[in-house]
């Protein structure tokens, strides 16, 4: 159990500044997701917390203890790598046992703990196999097993699901969330996939170019994005951003409307345009619409919605669901 605090943490590689200086508080037992586009510094930030990289400035503390100079093993954190980083020449059992062996635990106790972890993760039948004889999802579970046997104060996940196929990813997402419910340990999870962030997090940290754009619960970010970046990043399909006379009528430089908050009316609305391609997903229909001034929007209609390509449509945003942004991209509230 641990709370992690970052104070003015920065990281440079030579002249390249990855993280210019960042503050963050992670409460005990929280599931925090770092999300952002590639190269935003989220993995670097995780590695700084892990101790695999030295900070260029600032301080990191775990439970009030300053660990800025502490080697990774003594920070009491376990990490699951994107590549899983299993030891290929060791059996699954030996992989899971490795951190305990390094801690000098006696054999009987190690055996018990490995069996326990294997039972939790459905790996009991695979303990004698080598990692290469396992499927992607099983390898992922071994990596998690290796992390949980140590009973660490916190878990660090570095894009752990990006090497899995879509169906398995949904599955593992649930398993990791379930694990968090069981263990109640602090978890930090890095991903570039905003769906993973929305579904798993207690708290999302949106990063862009090494800066924190916004911190909040998934719904806070969805309902009240602080700026254009967060507005565009969170939500799928992306929020529509409209500029021009419509935005000015609403007293803003840019107005954001989520596809699910646009009402489609063939007889006209606040915005008018021509229907483009419709994507029929069964449960929803996503319709791409080109406005008369050339801007493109996406609208969501629940269930099946027939609209011919080239048909004239009117769009009206749901009342109270407009997001207004000023010329700097910050939200106007």
């Amino acid at each position: 159990m641990s709370a992690i605090t970052l104070r003015n943490v920065s990281k440079r590689f030579g002249d390249v500044v990855i993280i210019p200086g960042l503050d963050l508080d992670i409460r005990d037992g929280e599931f925090v997701v770092f999300v952002g586009p590639s190269g935003c510094g989220k993995s670097t930030l995780l590695r700084l917390i892990a101790g695999l990289e030295d900070v260029s400035g600032g301080a990191i503390s775990i439970d009030g203890r300053d660990v800025t100079e502490t080697p990774p093993a003594r920070r009491g954190l376990a990490m699951v790598f994107q590549s899983y980083a299993l030891y290929p020449h060791m059996s699954v059992g030996a992989n899971i046992a490795f951190p305990l062996k390094m801690a000098g635990m006696d054999k009987a106790q190690i055996e018990k703990k490995v069996q326990g972890a294997a039972a939790t993760l459905n790996l009991t039948d695979y303990l004698h196999r080598k990692p290469r004889e396992l499927s992607g999802g099983q390898r992922q579970r071994v990596a998690i097993g290796r992390a949980i046997v140590r009973e660490p104060n916190g878990f660090l996940f570095d894009e752990p699901l990006s090497n899995l196929d879509a169906a398995l990813r949904v599955n593992m997402r649930l398993e990791i969330s379930e694990l968090h419910q069981q263990l109640k340990t602090t978890m930090i999870y890095v991903t570039h996939d905003q769906v993973e962030a929305m579904t798993m997090a207690d708290k999302i940290v949106v990063l862009n170019r090494g800066r924190v754009e916004q911190v909040g619960s998934p719904l806070e970010l969805y309902e009240h994005p602080d700026n254009l970046f967060v507005a565009g990043f969170i939500g799928s399909p992306k929020m529509n951003l409209v500029t021009g006379p419509f935005a000015e009528r609403n007293g803003a430089r840019t107005v954001g409307i989520r596809p699910e908050h646009l009402l489609i009316d063939r007889s006209g609305g606040e915005l008018t345009g021509t229907a483009g391609v419709s994507e029929h997903l069964g449960s929803d229909t996503f319709i791409h619409i080109r406005l008369d001034d050339g801007q493109s929007l996406t609208a969501r209609a629940p269930g099946e919605f027939r609209l011919n390509h080239g048909e004239r449509v009117g769009l009206t945003p749901e009342a109270g669901r407009l997001h207004r942004f000023d010329e700097k991209g910050a939200a106007i509230r």
């Binding site: 892990a50 695999l52 080697p71 990774p72 093993a73 954190l77 376990a78 990490m79 790598f81 994107q82 590549s83 980083a85 299993l86 030891y87 290929p88 020449h89 060791m90 490795f98 951190p99 390094m102 801690a103 290469r132 290796r146 140590r150």
Partner: protein, 287 residues
Amino acid sequence: MATLHTKSAARAMMAPAVIALFVWMIVPLALTLWFSTLRYSFYGIDTPFVGFENYTYFLTDPRFLSAFQNTLILVLGVLFVTVVGGTLIALLLDQAFFGQSAVRLLVLAPFFVMPTVAALVWKNMMMNPVYGVISQVLAALGLPPVDWLNNYPLLSIIIIVAWQWLPFATLILLTSLQSLSEDQKEAAEMDGAGPLSIFFYITLPHMKRAITVVILIQTIFILSIYAEIFVTTGGGTSSSNLTFFIATLIQLDGDVGTASAGGIVAVILANIVSIFLVRLVGKNLEA
């Protein structure tokens, strides 16, 4: 693409090479086998058939046992020095430092020196008891000089051959080290492994395959060391290996028959060694 047609085409294409190699091997082997059954000497006129007599001569010659021993010591000694030394140097070269590529190139240099030249350099410049570099260093330390080649002939040859093969071992082991993913080392670091534990539990098992390749290839070449012995000690029971002893049988004794028998014995011994090695190595090379 593996149709019947492509298969037969492939066979036809490979046939010349396979046939050439086979003839290249089988003709000398057959001739040696034939000579080994004759009393065939530079100093005799007749070459009568004597059956296995040459083999008895060869195997009961006291020089055979010492040559066999020397061969083993030479191979094992050089393997030990090159594998252990190569691993250590590779670990060093794997670190990032200024002038890395230049140093890597320099480390490779001994491999390009011809065996005869290397042996001459070591004999005259390094190991000479009067003006050799090693003696100079010993003298500077106030220690008595060592007459390497006379007092420790086999050790001297091991040093020279190890020096020549160290770059090869280093190169192969270094490439293997570089293919070890950083993630695994970091994972081990997170798991609480210190530098030594990381080396023994992660790095060394990863290098196993490269080490077997080094052992296999070097064994083949070190079994047939000749020039280094010829240049430095000139043979004798204390430093001749099997190869050198068999050559001596022809050059000094003029005895082609016994030398051929020795050649066949050497082929059999080499095959026994290679069966063991291939078994040992094959297991590591799989997967």
